[in-house]
Each structure stands twice: as structure tokens, then as C-alpha cells.
């Protein structure tokens, strides 16, 4: 059979394709958010959807994050499958009651009588020169709450597959897209596929050290792995893809094999995703570890605007490379 070249899409196009395919498949799927219709969001991720599906299904809202997220919860309980758009992850703070006290608890608190099949798509990631209220990565907050699922795609392929899974899930899912990754290209099959939640992917195999990375930090970890290869170290890069459910087994197995692990995530380190994953590894691979698991996250400050300062706040390939090399005793 002749080999078919795999089509490449950007991360943004992959998100849009997943939405369009799900909206064609299921008329209950609809989108609410600010400037989602003709504007297609400020990041242009949704361009073209209103033209195909109309303004009833791609609904521009007022700047009322708490209100329309709550509306998403109620609509999800009663027959629609809304995908709520929160432009910047920083604005999640405004939706917190709706997500944490309402969406996350409805199924359990009602003894299973009600379901909330809602997706809330939002963004994370710094270095866009947008200062402290438009640069945060707040996914740890939601990962903390029982009843919510949290997906964090790191490639266009994962974005399409994970978003389809999110839309088909009967639970509230918070879906984080790295806004600096929207233009990243990668292979995305045209056909329908889903990626199960709670299944990590080994993005690169290695023997000497495990680097667990999420979302924006996966590319950084892969870059660091290449640098490590040049100094004779083989790094295994693992992307959990969902912070909840979390594939604890794959993470621990890898650390058992390599005996060292670094966790890199763009959220804050303190009480964060890196801390959780580090302890999962410590518990699951304790007797195989040669060193304490290292955590690398955003610097513990509100993200500064000034470019030279902002660039210091996020882990880079160089920082991960140096940390890994030091852990392997070749520092």
C-alpha cells in the first residue's frame, strides 16, 4: 500500500476540528463564550464555526464569566453538551463557584441523579508579555477538586483526541490549552479518534532519567532530552495528558526504570501539580530512586511584564537540561 503522508495541523486547527466534528456528530454540543462567534476568539481558535453552526450553537456572551459558566452547568444537566470558552485561564477565578461548588458536586451530591456533561476550555502559559493577570497557569486549582477532570494536551494530535473525549465524557472537564502553542504544528489524522483520560504517553523513551512534563512544558522537556543526549544521557519524557485522572502507574514504572525523576509544569510549584506528581513517584518508586524527585515550575511570583524578568519565571530547556545533568551526577 502506498504510504499516505500524514496531514499537519496547528494546535488551534486541531482544537477547532475536534469541535466541528463533535458538533456535526451531536446536535446537543454548543459553545458559549466572549467573542466566540464572528471573532472566533481573540486567538482565532474558533474561526469558521459560527458560519457552519449558526449563532444558536456558537453563542457570544456578555463579559459574565460566572453567569455563563453557571448557565453551562444548568444546560449540561438538562440536555445540552456545552463547551464553555474562558479566554484567559486567569479569568477562571471568576467561574470558581460555578465550577467548584456547582459543576463538580452536582453528580455526587444528588446521589447520582444529575450529570454535568460540560467542558470548559481555557488557556494557560506565560511569556506572551501580558503581565500578571493574563499569564497564569491555574490548572492545579481545578485538579484539586473531586468531581472535575482536567486535560492538558501538549500536541495538536492530543488536542483533537482529548477534546473529543472531554466532550463525550458525562462529567465536567476543564481543558487547558497553552496559548503559546496555538501555532505549533503536528500530524493530526483526519479520521475520528479519541484519547482516553488517565493514560500517560511516553513521548520519548530513555534509560537514565524520567522527565514528567505537562502541556507547555512537554516541548521544553523534549528539547532538554535532546541536549542531554548530546552529553550521553538518555532521558525518558512522559506526558500524563490529564492531571486528573492521573496515570500513576506509568509515572512510577518509568521512575523505577530510570531511578531519577524531574517533574516540569508551568503552574506554581508550591502546593502544585509538580508536588502531587513527585509524591506519586516517590510513593510508587521509592526503593528504586537514586535521588529525591525534583520539581520545576513557575517562579513564585505574579508573572512580571518586563520581558527579561518574565523569561526567568518559566522553566526553559536549558534549566531542565542542567537540573537533569546534575541529578545524573554529570553536572
Amino acid at each position: 500500500m502506498p504510504e499516505v503522508a500524514v496531514r499537519e495541523l496547528t494546535f488551534a486547527q486541531a482544537v477547532r476540528e475536534a469541535l466541528a466534528e463533535e458538533m456535526r456528530r451531536d446536535p446537543r454540543v454548543c459553545i458559549f463564550g466572549e467573542d466566540v462567534a464572528e471573532a472566533g476568539t481573540p486567538f482565532k481558535v474558533l474561526s469558521g464555526l459560527v458560519e457552519e453552526f449558526g449563532r444558536e450553537r456558537v453563542l457570544d456572551t456578555p463579559i459574565s464569566e460566572a453567569g455563563f459558566t453557571g448557565m453551562g452547568v444548568g444546560a449540561a444537566m438538562t440536555g445540552l453538551r456545552p463547551v464553555v470558552d474562558i479566554m484567559f485561564g486567569d479569568f477562571l477565578t471568576l467561574t470558581m463557584d460555578q465550577l467548584v461548588n456547582q459543576a463538580a458536586k452536582v453528580h455526587y451530591m444528588s446521589g447520582g441523579n444529575w450529570k454535568v456533561p460540560m467542558v470548559l476550555r481555557t488557556t494557560l502559559g506565560a511569556t506572551r508579555r501580558s503581565a500578571a493577570q493574563h499569564s497564569q497557569s491555574l490548572h492545579a486549582w481545578l485538579s484539586h477538586v473531586p468531581g472535575l477532570k482536567v486535560a492538558m494536551p501538549s500536541t495538536p494530535y492530543d488536542a483533537k483526541g482529548l477534546l473529543k473525549t472531554a466532550i463525550r465524557d458525562d462529567n465536567p472537564v476543564v481543558f487547558f490549552e497553552d496559548k503559546m502553542m496555538y501555532k505549533l504544528k503536528g500530524p493530526v489524522p483526519e479520521e475520528d479518534y479519541t484519547i482516553p483520560f488517565g493514560v500517560a504517553e511516553v513521548k520519548r523513551e530513555g534509560q537514565d532519567i524520567t522527565i514528567v512534563a505537562t502541556s507547555s512544558m512537554v516541548q521544553v522537556a523534549l528539547g532538554a532530552a535532546e541536549m542531554l543526549e548530546k552529553v550521553g544521557l538518555s532521558a525518558e519524557v512522559i506526558d500524563p495528558r490529564t492531571t486528573w485522572p492521573l496515570d500513576e502507574k506509568t509515572l512510577a514504572e518509568s521512575a523505577k526504570k530510570t531511578s531519577r525523576a524531574i517533574v516540569v509544569d508551568e503552574g506554581y510549584g508550591r502546593y502544585g501539580v509538580t508536588g502531587e506528581i513527585a509524591s506519586v513517584i516517590a510513593e510508587g518508586a521509592f526503593y528504586s530512586l537514586d535521588a529525591p524527585v525534583k520539581r520545576m515550575g513557575a517562579m513564585h511570583v505574579p508573572i512580571p511584564f518586563s520581558p527579561p524578568l518574565e523569561d526567568m519565571t518559566v522553566p526553559t530547556e536549558q534549566m531542565v537540561f542542567e537540573a537533569a545533568r546534575a541529578m545524573c551526577g554529570k553536572g
Binding site: 467573542d35 481573540p42 457570544d60 518586563s306 520581558p307 519565571t313
Partner: protein, 332 residues
């Protein structure tokens, strides 16, 4: 500056020199913003900025009615508010470029300029994000008996945020000296306000017993006159007000919003610029009233432009903060 006319003369209850100062402030804001746009197009400015061009009469008319010690809170489209309250352009440009000499040591950028010396509690990049802060400042002034008034600037998009109604209720209950100034420039980003705002805007304030009115935000004299009255009420303890200023932004939502025809027509933009320009119309009035002559106004434009250019040069030459700065100031 050369001003040919008698500047001590009183016209419409205000000295000519004050009208001239008001005019100069509006020109300053426009020229400042032109330079910001230039910095963006020359790729000298990190990130984006939301320009205030077209809306100058609102900030200037309101702030002219305030004392230096009165408070303001501002928005993502905040350069005009800062300048109108008395901030200096060189330190503002330095902030926009992320330099140490900036008002926030480069850590805030365009959307977060704050300046205690001029009563500026800060610009805010969260729509509606400063409504609580403004109301709290008014509570302090009342409790501490300082006589200060607070103006909370926001765009009509912020009418979508529930917090605004919570604080209006609080302000009315406490008779707080705060004025909620809604700059209705017709668009919430790329969506016309009529698609996001149901019912009667003013009724939203009136429902809480907050004094509510609207003005032509392109007419600096009306804005100033109204602001004087509302600030006077607030200062006397007569309570909060909600003022809708009808205005228009000439440029994109931000400097990168160039192709706008999918949400508003070029013709609409042209009409506002041709018929309702706050600077042009005020200049015509000043000339007709012999508050100034054409030559003096032209001269003023030149001077202000040169000042703005010098301020930009200062900012470009200024150093970035030192790396240690990143971790400083998280806590007081």
C-alpha cells in the same frame, strides 16, 4: 507656549487658561497613544496595548473635576486616565517597555500602571476588576474623613460583571463618595454592546438608588460640567453616582486589531472621526470663543508631540530591571 489670547478671561464660567490646559491634556493623550502605536508597529514594545484615541474627553473632563488626592481606578484601556490624573509620559512609556524607570518598575506594563502620587490606585486587566477597589477606597475616605472622592472608570463591557452591581448596592447603602464612570465606546472587544447589554443601562444604577445619568463623552465641556456636579455631590456626602459617557474608540480593540470590518464599518469610524472628534470640536469652540487661535493650537500640538517623542526616547534608553527584581515585592 505662545498663546495669543487673554488667558485670564472667563468663558462659560471657566478661565481661558483652564480651557487651554484641558485642551492640552487631550492632545497629550492623543499624541501619547500615537507614539504607543508607533512603538508597536516598529516592534519596540513587548505585548499589546489598548489605545484611548477618540475617548480623550472622558478622562480629561472627569479628572479635571478631581483633586490630585482624589482616587481613580482604571482599566486595560487606561493610558488616558493615568495622563489625565497627572502621570508623566516618560515613566509611563518606560513602564510600557518594561523598564526599571517605569511606574511599576516594569513589572506591570500597559495594563497595570499605578501611581500613588496622583491618586491612581491602578489600571486593571480584569474587566470589572477594580469596582471593588474603587468602592473600598470610597469607604476609607468616608471613614477617615479625608474628603476624597473616587472615580471608577470602566468600559460598558464591565456591565456584564456581577461584582459591579454588588458594589453599587454597597455604595448606595453606605452613601459612599464614589462615581462609577462607564465609558460606552459601543464595543466589548469585537462585539457591539447591544448584543451583550439588555434593557436600560442607566436603570441599572437607578435600581440601587444610585444617581444615574449619561453625557456626550465627546464633548469635554459637558463631561467636565457634569463631573463637577457629581464630584461635588459625592464630596458633600450625598452619595454615589453612575455616569455613562457615550464615546468611541478610533483604533482597534488593541494595537494588533487592524482588520475590523467584520464587526464595524469603516464608514462608522469615519463618521465619528469627522463629526464627533473631541479635540477638533473643542478646538473649534475655543477659537470661536477666542480662548485660543489656530496658530497657538497648532504650536501646542507641535510642542506636545516633541515632548512625547522625548519621553519615548527616554524610555527606549532606560535600562531593564535587574534580574533580582523578579522576586522582589511579592509581599509588602
Amino acid at each position: 507656549m505662545s498663546v495669543a489670547t487673554d488667558q485670564a478671561r472667563v468663558v462659560d464660567g471657566v478661565k481661558a487658561e483652564q480651557w487651554t490646559r484641558i485642551y492640552r491634556r487631550m492632545v497629550m493623550i492623543r499624541e501619547f497613544e500615537e507614539q504607543v502605536n508607533e512603538l508597536y508597529t516598529r516592534a519596540l514594545m513587548p505585548g499589546l496595548a489598548h489605545l484611548y484615541i477618540g475617548e480623550e474627553a472622558v478622562a480629561v473632563g472627569i479628572c479635571e473635576a478631581l483633586r490630585r488626592t482624589d482616587y481613580i481606578t482604571s482599566t486595560h484601556r487606561g493610558h488616558g486616565h493615568c495622563l489625565a490624573k497627572g502621570a508623566s509620559p516618560d515613566r509611563m512609556f518606560a513602564e510600557l517597555l518594561g523598564k526599571e524607570a517605569g511606574y511599576c518598575r516594569g513589572k506591570g506594563g500597559s495594563m497595570h500602571i499605578a501611581d500613588p502620587a496622583t491618586g491612581n490606585l491602578g489600571a486593571n486587566a480584569i474587566v470589572g476588576g477594580s469596582a471593588g477597589i474603587a468602592t473600598g477606597a470610597a469607604l476609607s475616605s468616608k471613614r477617615l474623613g479625608t474628603g476624597q472622592v473616587t472615580v471608577c472608570f470602566f468600559g460598558e463591557g464591565a456591565l456584564g460583571q456581577g461584582v459591579l452591581y454588588e458594589v453599587m448596592n454597597l455604595a448606595a447603602l453606605g452613601k459612599l463618595p464614589v462615581i462609577y464612570v462607564c465609558e460606552n465606546n459601543l464595543y466589548n472587544e469585537y462585539t457591539h454592546y447591544s448584543e451583550t447589554t439588555a434593557g436600560d443601562m442607566l436603570a441599572r444604577g437607578a435600581a440601587f438608588g444610585v444617581h444615574a445619568e449619561s453625557v456626550d463623552g465627546q464633548d469635554v465641556r459637558t463631561v467636565y460640567g457634569t463631573a463637577q456636579r457629581l464630584v461635588g455631590r459625592a464630596r458633600k456626602g450625598e452619595g454615589p453616582a453612575f455616569l455613562v459617557c457615550n464615546t468611541y474608540r478610533y483604533m482597534g480593540h488593541h494595537v494588533g486589531d487592524i482588520n475590523r470590518e467584520y464587526y464595524r464599518s469603516k464608514q462608522e469610524e469615519q463618521e465619528w472621526k469627522a463629526k464627533r472628534d473631541p479635540i477638533k470640536n473643542f478646538a473649534e469652540w475655543m477659537i470661536a470663543q477666542k480662548v485660543a487661535d489656530t496658530a497657538a493650537l497648532e504650536e501646542m500640538h507641535k510642542e506636545v508631540r516633541a515632548e512625547m517623542k522625548a519621553a519615548v526616547e527616554f524610555a527606549i534608553a532606560a535600562p531593564y530591571p535587574k534580574p533580582e527584581e523578579a522576586e522582589q515585592g511579592v509581599y509588602a
